[in-house]
């Protein structure tokens, strides 16, 4: 009886916080717009297989006769060198980009959060070692590690996701560790330790839930950057492989044709830009809300 009401008591203020944050988010016109577009993108990604005009063009080739046609009423974005409808492929690409980004970020969180939580909560030697390893990983220029790992794992979309996951986790580790260090001094943690709760439960049951919010926020802000990274890797040939309709890959393939078929590179590239842009704008808006100094309430 008391247990359930206790949970309600801890959820209720969180819900109002979320409501308040959403309200603040929607106040700025630009942020509101970005939120709307992000939701739209999400829906597009989910509905992609059903809404594209030429689903058969997504992976398999079509009429070579129709190759490299400019945009028209039939093919909104024109066709590529194999006669495929670029519009359909770009729409479907939304699904691929969002999917891979979420998985990559998820992987990074999966590695980064436990490491950071353990480092912050335990302190001492464990903390030092983990943080040094984190520093080493952070010393690679951002894209480079992903390139190196993807290169060695072999070019494929899955490997690209893996590569990104393995190169992005340090940021989250550092973030969580900082939070964990300050939380571990709090009363309820000390109380839990006093009654002999096993350390694993303390870390994952008490500490992590309390510091996970900023990390989740950071991760959502990172999605834009991750999409860009995936596109860049695919552009280099290290991510998606033909015939996958991934945006970066499309831009890369278009290199041979775009000087005479501008639509081939413009539209997929535009898709990348707009998607990353709205995620970044949303992230900016989020950050302004969270920072008490710029919060205008």
């Amino acid at each position: 009886m008391t247990k359930s009401s206790g949970i309600m008591n801890s959820i209720k203020p969180r819900i109002t916080e979320i409501k308040l944050s959403l309200y603040l988010l929607c106040r700025n016109r630009l942020t509101r717009l970005s939120l709307g577009v992000v939701i739209l993108l999400g829906l597009t990604a989910l509905a992609a297989p059903f809404i594209v005009p030429h689903p058969e063009h997504i992976e398999t080739e079509a009429n070579p006769v129709d190759k490299l046609l400019p945009p028209s009423g039939k093919y909104y974005f024109g066709t590529d060198e194999l006669g495929r409808d670029i519009f359909s492929r770009v729409i479907y690409g939304t699904r691929i980009s969002l999917q891979t980004a979420l998985i990559a970020v998820g992987l990074a969180l999966l590695i980064g959060i436990p490491l950071g939580a353990i480092a912050g909560a335990t302190g001492g030697m464990v903390d030092e070692v983990i943080m040094r390893i984190t520093d080493i990983f952070l010393s690679f220029p951002p894209l480079l590690l992903a390139i190196a790992i993807a290169a060695f794992l072999g070019p494929s979309l899955e490997n690209a996701m893996l590569a990104i996951g393995v190169s992005w986790w340090p940021w989250y580790t550092r973030l969580i560790r900082g939070q964990a260090v300050s939380i571990r001094e709090r009363q309820f943690v000390k109380a839990a330790r006093a009654i002999g709760t096993p350390p694993v439960r303390i870390i994952f049951g008490h500490i992590v839930p309390n510091c996970i919010a900023p990390v989740i926020v950071q991760a959502s802000m990172d999605i834009g950057g991750v999409i860009l990274t995936i596109a860049s890797l695919s552009f280099l040939g290290l991510g998606a492989q033909p015939p996958t309709p991934e945006w970066g890959l499309m831009v890369s393939t278009s290199r041979n044709y775009f000087l005479n078929a501008w639509w081939y590179s413009i539209f997929p590239g535009l898709a990348i830009f707009v998607t990353v842009l709205v995620f970044n704008l949303l992230g900016d808006g989020l950050r302004e809300i969270l920072d008490p100094k710029t919060r205008k309430i």
């Binding site: 080493i136 831009v251 830009f273 970044n280």
Partner: protein, 336 residues
């Protein structure tokens, strides 16, 4: 201050060691067949075996690591599997072009980014602010490779104003003696007074330079704006105004000087990011730098080459981070 630098340098070395270790592990643990690569596609089994021994690949891992580190200390990065040339020599040949590109775009980024950030902070929430904030966020959201292609489309294909790629035009390369003193084309042609080559090199660096500069412009503008906004709220700015100091001085001298620390840090870090960004841009513009080098190395899994570039880039990045930390420590208030 000195002990701070020493400590950071030591940390940097430790980190570098970690980087080398990780890169090494990557190349040895992940399946690929470097020996087969070395001897080419039509090798026989014995030739592959022989290559293995020659490359030291038959020895246990830690021995290989030892050898690699020993070589590294001598500056030997191994030999490229494709060309059989020493990686360090190849790097040296390709490096100047990339450095030129990075340098030019960083300068552009600072020249454009800082005033943009200042204008944005000065007229916060006005049109100027919204537009430049949008531009800054936009700049870091653009896929650089796409921008490069876009610029080529416009300025080469449709307007015919600028060249497609490369560092120099074919015509120039074939008919003139290219000055080569430091390896930095624009610098060399300037100091030898060869203005024909200089103009040509300039024309060729414009498009790739702008493409690479976009991301740092965005970063620098954003950082300048946010640093300045915080500073403009400070008491000493209000005090300065109360003394009747002209607004121009308050903004560009009193306020900006306080923001240089974080801005310089961002510039240093953005150089690191730019370095990797050039990999993408060089591919598009056929720019003969280490980006092109690593692109082809990646495709053929030429792991000594990849390792060489990785280690070099990581090195550069660590140094830049160190520089950034030192800049922060230069602030008279920070006690290190």
């Amino acid at each position: 201050m000195r002990s701070f630098i020493v400590k950071r340098v030591l940390l940097g070395i430790l980190v570098l060691f970690g980087v080398i270790l990780i890169t090494f592990v990557l190349t040895r643990v992940i399946p690929s067949n470097p020996a087969a690569q070395w001897v080419g596609q039509r090798a026989t089994a014995e030739q592959i075996e022989a290559a293995k021994i020659e490359l030291g690949l038959d020895k246990p891992l830690y021995v290989q690591l030892e050898r690699y580190l020993a070589d590294l200390a001598k500056g030997d990065l191994g030999r490229s599997l494709r060309s059989h040339q020493p990686v360090s020599a190849e790097l040296k040949a390709y490096l100047p072009a990339t450095i030129e590109l990075v340098l030019v775009s960083t300068i552009v980024a600072v020249i454009i980014g800082i005033p943009l950030g200042v204008a944005s902070a000065k007229r916060k929430d006005h049109m100027v602010d919204h537009v430049s904030r949008f531009f800054s966020v936009g700049a870091v959201s653009l896929p650089t490779f796409w921008v490069g292609m876009f610029l080529q489309l416009i300025f080469y294909r449709w307007l015919g104003l600028l060249p497609l790629g490369g560092q120099l035009s074919m015509g120039i390369k074939l008919t003139r003696e290219i000055p080569h003193i430091t390896g930095f084309l624009m610098f060399d042609s300037l100091i030898t007074g060869d203005f024909v080559v200089f103009r040509d090199a300039l024309a060729h660096i414009i498009l790739p330079g702008i493409t690479v500069a976009l991301y740092p412009i965005g970063l620098v503008a954003r950082m300048t704006r946010s640093a300045l906004l915080e500073i403009l709220d400070e008491d000493y700015i209000r005090a300065a105004r109360s003394y009747g100091l002209p607004e121009r001085m308050v903004l560009w001298s009193y306020a900006l000087k306080n923001s240089l620390g974080p801005t310089a840090t961002v510039v240093a870090l953005s150089i690191g990011y730019t370095l990797v960004n050039t990999f993408l841009v060089e591919a598009i513009f056929s720019w003969p730098g280490i980006g092109s080098y690593i692109s082809s190395a990646v495709i053929s899994l030429d792991y000594p080459a990849i390792m060489g570039v990785t280690i070099f880039s990581a090195c550069a990045y660590v140094v830049l981070n160190l520089v950034a930390d030192v800049i922060i420590a230069l602030d008279p208030r920070v006690r290190v």
